[in-house]
């Protein structure tokens, strides 16, 4: 590590009273919290509560109305290379003519740079990432021929190939099969052990409790941010979700894995 790059003791993410507005309508307000290297936080809240907006703000893709975001000691736009974003697999065109290994190699593009093509090292890193998600045998297949769960694993492999220190996942467990769920949980644990910080949006409380040490409960404004058992209380969830919260609580927190 050179002196320019922040060390592992620098927090991966610092949110300080973050507020975002679209066309003067508040989308996010008063989000405050810290995620250290190797920690993971679940963003919990109903649809439209600002989970995706917060992920975009951490990527520096939406302007802040107030507050500040610091990613690995830098402004979000300056830290993008060290931040990997994993979209929902069903947002992608299943007919697109692209192979699984090409998708994973995309994680290397910023390191490869303009004009040049991915080299032997980049391809090796991509192959290793694909191996970690257990899909080496599908490398040459078209991305769209994979199942939803497998596609989600490929997108995680792309993020791994990027060698990021902060991983942002948008509903990574949406519509995935049991095998993929266990594999993803295991991989996220390994990555945390390697010092990667993780922020994931999810509507699944049991997943949040298994996969994350912290939770941020939000509904436009921040309801709670802290260790999962302190943040995911019935009271907080009722505040975020309204009356349905009790149903969710009685349904959710028994860990499936």
């Amino acid at each position: 590590m050179t002196t320019v790059a922040p060390g592992w003791d620098t927090p991966a993410l610092v949110l300080d009273a973050v507020a975002v507005a679209y066309d003067r309508v508040t989308a996010l307000d008063g989000i405050t919290g810290t995620v250290a290297a190797g920690e993971s936080v679940a963003l919990i809240g109903p649809n439209g509560s600002g989970k995706s907006t917060l992920l975009k703000a951490i990527l520096g893709l939406v302007p802040l109305q107030a507050g500040s975001i610091t990613v690995l000691g830098r402004a979000p736009t300056a830290a993008r290379r060290a931040v990997a974003y994993v979209p929902q697999q069903d947002a992608l065109d299943a007919e697109f003519p692209i192979s699984v290994s090409q998708v994973v190699t995309m994680g290397r593009y910023r390191r490869v740079g303009w004009v040049r093509r991915p080299g032997r090292h980049d391809k090796a890193v991509a192959a290793e990432a694909l191996h970690r998600v257990g899909l080496s045998d599908r490398a040459g297949d078209r991305f769209g021929t994979l199942s939803g769960g497998q596609r989600q694993r490929v997108l995680l492999a792309r993020a791994i190939a990027q060698d990021a220190r902060l991983l942002l996942l948008d509903e990574p467990f949406n519509g995935v099969d049991g095998t993929t769920q266990e594999l993803l949980l295991g991989l996220l644990g390994e990555l945390r052990a390697e010092g990667v910080a993780i922020v994931m949006s999810t509507h699944d409380l049991s997943i949040a409790q298994v996969a994350c040490c912290d939770a941020c409960v939000l509904n436009t404004h921040q309801v709670a941010f802290g260790p999962v058992d302190e943040a995911l209380t019935a009271e907080h969830l009722r505040e975020a979700y309204g009356t349905n919260a009790l149903l969710l609580v009685s349904d959710g927190p028994s860990p499936r894995a």
Binding site: Y85, P87, L92, F96, P97, S99, M106, R110, R142
Partner: protein, 299 residues
């Protein structure tokens, strides 16, 4: 064989038409892959209309059609990129407003000319048989420039087409990439418009690429190669059919229109062929079926 390759192309003007049509087929096919993958067909069509006033003005003023088309084409590519970014205007509405607005300017300019009908026909339907050496050079250089930029930005443009969210997350400017692609599409439109006219130019961009999409599923590069071959074959075969029909049968087949019709026929054959193969596979024995079932059971 001679009737396919040699006889039609003995006259100089037909040789020039062949070179022009093949270059346009190749470049249009390759750029068209991005048009089809990004579902930009309507936007590309809008660009073919927005180059019209520039050509009309150049025509009336006696200037270069190419320069006229280039000026309004690039201006509208920039306007389109900015307009479609605006969240308060839906992109299709923005396109429709811009294309009809630009096109009406062209109509007004051309209708002031005394040789109105003949001029309009030339601008709308093109004259591939009147292509001169200077035009071929302009087309070749423009095509080369377009292909060089496409090659240089290949991985970024494919990434943007496949996953715009991740493209932005990686720190690329999606707007800049879109602007570059729109200008490239415009350049192809501008170089093709004198040969096939502003109404039919969209076929060079969409038809070979759409056919290639049916044939190639594994990579964008392979799809581009296929579209280039289909585009070139369409250009050549279209000229042959037009020559055969006009010289030997007295059908008077307009060359630009025939090229597009041949491309359409190629697309239809590919569609019919791939549909037949798919049906046969579904009803016949399926060697992959057992493997697929095993895989589903395992996951």
């Amino acid at each position: 064989m001679s009737r396919l390759f040699i006889e039609p192309f003995q006259a100089g003007y037909l040789q020039r038409a062949l070179i022009e049509a093949v270059i346009l087929g190749i470049v249009g096919g390759i750029v068209g892959v991005h048009v089809v993958l990004r579902r930009l067909e309507f936007m590309a069509d809008a660009l073919t209309h927005t180059v019209f006033p520039g050509m009309a003005a150049a025509f009336v003023l006696g200037g270069s059609l190419y320069v006229g088309a280039l000026i309004t084409g690039v201006a509208s590519a920039v306007l389109l990129t900015l307009l479609t970014r605006n969240r308060r205007v839906t992109s299709d509405a923005a396109l429709a407003v811009l294309l009809t607005g630009f096109f009406s300017i062209g109509v007004i300019i051309v209708s002031r000319s005394r040789t109105y009908t003949a001029d309009l026909t030339t601008l709308l339907f093109g004259r591939v048989l009147a292509v001169d050496v200077a035009q071929i050079i302009a087309t070749a250089l423009t095509g080369l420039a377009v292909l060089v930029v496409l090659w240089a930005l290949h991985k970024e443009l494919v990434l943007r087409a496949f996953d715009p969210e991740a493209t932005a997350a990686l720190g690329y400017s999606v707007t800049t990439l879109d602007l570059v692609l729109n200008v490239l599409i415009t350049l192809v439109v501008v170089s093709a418009v004198r040969a096939v006219g502003s109404v039919l130019v969209i076929a060079l961009l969409v038809t070979p690429a759409a056919a290639a999409q049916l044939l190639v599923r594994r990579s964008v590069g392979a799809m581009m190669a296929t579209a280039a071959v289909l585009g070139a074959v369409g250009g050549w075969l279209g000229l042959v059919v037009s020559y055969e029909g006009s010289i030997h049968h007295g059908w008077r087949l307009a060359s630009g229109g025939t090229i597009v019709l041949v491309l359409t026929a190629l697309f239809a054959s590919v569609l019919a062929g791939t549909a037949t193969v798919a049906t046969l596979r579904r009803h016949g024995r399926r060697p992959g079926a057992a493997a697929t079932t095993l895989e589903a059971a395992a996951s």
